[in-house]
Symmetry: C2
Subunit: 295 residues, 2 copies
């Protein structure tokens, strides 16, 4: 029984951050421009605060300037729109992130649509998604998590063209754009979702599996073809009384079982997660380069 | 051996045109507005002229006003843009079509992007495609040919939800949006294209097949699961010395073979073709209703 290779997202993300840091130095030396990322946080959710802090830290580590606006939970929609508008107009800001979820009294679609498309480093704008779906069009930014999945395949030399790929999950931020990206690279893609009959039979045909369902350990070893590559996007808390915090994080894929049949598997944590932030930094750099015509 | 049902696109399209004509009368009576469709034709391609003439005829048959601008082959890009701009500003025009292909000296993407998105009844604008791909977003218009395919399935009471669908072809105007539409209706969708290995094995798993490749008779009976539904979008000329014009039109699917295994099949001609024009009329009506807030 050959054990699968572990796809080390943490190590790849570190390498990508080093490449980004070097590019940022080169740009600064050449034209004196430093990329800037603005994050807008509304309310006091602990998890959101942690995500924002991690993004700030990641920016620091590569030399991206980060700007943060923290608005109280009871802010009006207009106040959020005003913050976005200021960042839209600020030439030192090349990327704008609105940390989700927003308070329930705000119109999320309206707020997200107000981010200038040139600064939409999340790549969630429908115009970007449309271009991603269309042949012969190029999106300004590719959504970070799916981009990170594909980047892992590239860096591990895993061929995509002509391969059968199954994406489990079809959310706007992960599953759907991941399928579009695999398609652009000439995989034959099937999207499995909650209405799919016999998902295990379909998944078992795949050479490449990307799972993003949020269902802990749903994908069992029996779902995986011998030698397939498994990218596990899920980050799911499961109870674990042995740990002080009472839970641990697992993926959508039953890791131990996958390691027995697959040829390569991303662990959770340490797989796709670190890649997502690295791709955010990469998109911010791309945006700054584009804004200043720097190659 | 039970022979498959023929899906009669011509008859369904006729019925839809009657429904549209009735709606147009109702709107005219209520608010005095008649929908208008503008077509821009550049150059002297015979086939393009035929398409434009057919569209005009179809408009007449349901009571849509049609406007045509015919520019010479050697027009400048600016002249085309000016025509579009006039129609964009004209409140009696609710839909604008640019007949493709354009002369080679023109930038097709630029010209298509200049059509106001509220009048893009072709539904090809990337913003529309993005919304089509995204859950929780609604496109202003759904591209006509794929919309016609789905409408045929609906009108024949063919269940889509939970079914396995294979779309062969991934063009921006047919295959890709057809896959997105099937996905929106909760089919489990696989897209087959020219880089797909063993397309026949994949296609044979489908409950619903939509083929749009432009390859005459490529899909053989052996590609089709017993009882599957086959929507054949292809319109392909093949030599036929017995006919005065020297060719006849066939689909992507080997019709006789499909009729032996499938449960329902669209013929070519008389299947998807007439539905495309009916959906164009439907989109134009939708646009006029939307512009005037008429329900
Ligand atoms: N690594 C990272 O950086 C990131 C990780 N994540 C993680 O990825 C996971 C997915 O996130 P997200 O895409 O936002 O989640 P969503 O809840 O938005 O989407 C989940 C998708 O999975 C599908 N699904 C749910 N149950 C099943 C099932 N039993 N069988 C097949 N499909 C199913 C749903 O189908 P349907 O559409 O039919 O409802 C839906 O399309 C989560 O664990 C999240 O924490 C998310 C973003 C970034
Ligand atoms: N009924 C109607 O109203 C309409 C009919 N049509 C007809 O539909 C057909 C397709 O049109 P359109 O979408 O514009 O065509 P395109 O040429 O733009 O796209 C053809 C698609 O088929 C794929 N393909 C080509 N060869 C194969 C193969 N051997 N196996 C699998 N896939 C293949 C291509 O793959 P790849 O992407 O890898 O190159 C491509 O995605 C044509 O016959 C056209 O006349 C079109 C529009 C309207």
């Amino acid at each position: 029984e050959s054990l699968a290779k572990v796809i080390d997202g943490k190590a790849v993300a570190k390498q990508i951050r080093e490449e980004i840091a070097a590019e940022i130095l080169r740009m600064k030396d050449a034209i004196g421009v430093v990329p800037g990322l603005a994050v807008i946080l509304v309310g006091d959710r602990k998890d959101s605060a942690t995500y924002v802090r991690n993004k700030k830290k990641a920016c620091d580590s590569v030399g991206i300037n980060s700007y943060e606006v923290h608005l109280p939970e009871e802010s009006t929609e207009q106040e959020v729109l005003d913050s976005i508008s200021r960042f839209n107009d600020d030439p030192s800001v090349h990327g704008i992130l609105v940390q989700l979820p927003l308070p329930l009294h705000m119109n999320e679609v309206k707020i997200l649509n107000s981010v200038a498309i040139e600064k939409d480093v999340d790549g969630f704008h429908p115009l970007n998604i449309g271009r991603l779906a269309m042949r012969g069009r190029e999106p300004l930014f590719v959504p970070c998590t799916p981009k990170g999945c594909i980047e892992l395949l590239h860096r591990y030399g895993i061929e995509i063209r002509g391969k059968k790929a199954v994406v489990i999950g079809r959310s706007n931020i992960v599953g759907m754009p991941a399928a579009l990206l695999l398609q652009r690279e000439d995989a034959t893609v099937t999207i499995v979702h909650s209405r799919t009959m016999n998902p295990e039979d379909i998944t078992r045909q795949a050479d490449i599996i990307i799972s993003a369902t949020g269902k802990a350990n749903m994908v069992r070893g029996s779902w995986i073809k011998h030698g397939a590559v498994v990218i596990d996007v899920g980050i799911n808390p499961v109870e674990d009384a042995k740990l002080p915090r009472g839970y641990r994080l697992v993926g959508d894929v039953c890791y131990e079982e996958a390691m027995e049949v697959a040829s390569a598997v991303t662990p959770v944590p340490g797989g796709v997660g670190p890649m997502t932030i690295a791709m955010l930094l990469s998109n911010t750099l791309t945006s700054a380069k584009r804004a200043h015509g720097f190659r």
